[in-house]
Symmetry: D2
Subunit: 112 residues, 4 copies
Amino acid sequence: MNHMTTDSTCIDNCSNCHKTCLQTAMTHCLNMGGKHLEPEHFRLMLDCAKICETSACFQLSGSKYSGDICKVCAEICTACADSCEEVGGMEACVSACRTCAESCTAMASHTH
Amino acid sequence: MNHMTTDSTCIDNCSNCHKTCLQTAMTHCLNMGGKHLEPEHFRLMLDCAKICETSACFQLSGSKYSGDICKVCAEICTACADSCEEVGGMEACVSACRTCAESCTAMASHTH
Amino acid sequence: MNHMTTDSTCIDNCSNCHKTCLQTAMTHCLNMGGKHLEPEHFRLMLDCAKICETSACFQLSGSKYSGDICKVCAEICTACADSCEEVGGMEACVSACRTCAESCTAMASHTH
Amino acid sequence: MNHMTTDSTCIDNCSNCHKTCLQTAMTHCLNMGGKHLEPEHFRLMLDCAKICETSACFQLSGSKYSGDICKVCAEICTACADSCEEVGGMEACVSACRTCAESCTAMASHTH
């Protein structure tokens, strides 16, 4: 088989996680400062937004590398959720990241 | 005022149009060939996906240039909807593009 | 004529400005703090990186909307250069933004 | 150590591979048709452009996940180079992909 079956739930979870992390980083964290702007945390928020956007693109294109991207995406989403829990008061991000990590892990195991 | 009010409906319309155009181009059009793969049409589908993704990013970041991007986005979405109507059998794209063009036009008029 | 002539100099200037702004924002500014992390300045740095990346993509794809994107790109690059001058100590960004703004302005006037 | 040392050569190789694959796909392949537009080949060209752009972004941001992205990037670049060799007449792509795969492989082994 040439290209993987797309899973609209995983695409939606990636898209939602991209939106939540980017918006929270660039409005909430950037304005709050303090530990919200600590370089490692803030960089992770933008890493997470970027890999989720990339993962959605690969899945939308029907790429056979979607599983490889989803695997990295799940790892970064999990790290981002952990970091957001540590910072505190970022429940929407934690939830979007955990949901995305879960569906990306499932997607990663289906392919290749 | 420093950054524009975000409009979650316009962000969602841009995100949905990005998804619909990218997925339709890379699965439906690429497999159908013929007028679906005519360079001007196909390039417009990917232009539309790209500007919608960019427009969503600017709005999510609370950028004060969101209105400028939305203006270009509305123009490209309208052209893409027209092209999809001409090709035929692409109702989901036509609808996503028209909806996105409408909210981007409204957003463009609110800013600066 | 169907798609614009690509100008590899303008593509290279956009690509270079994307790299310089993204790298400076995420390493230098994020670590320096203070006025380097003032929300309006920092957001502008990432806006500039994003529109330059988008502009390069449109030109690389031979899009007939390249001129429209270049016009917005020139505006954002100019604002970013001004903001970097005000912050101070950001000569590489100022130079990359001015160079990109100049070639994008020329590109914008060639098209449509 | 918190974030990896950036390697400007690998960033440049990713950026160059992104440009070469995107431009070749959207101008040369889209116009040539035939095996240049065979879905699996064409999708791989755009996958390669996208992962190279993502890889450059992670490295420019000083992300500690750069090595993970570079590993996937090297895999996709190698597959794209092979596919371009099979199609024929795509020497610039083959060369950009091989060069990028090599520096991404080195970068992947340095991290974590």
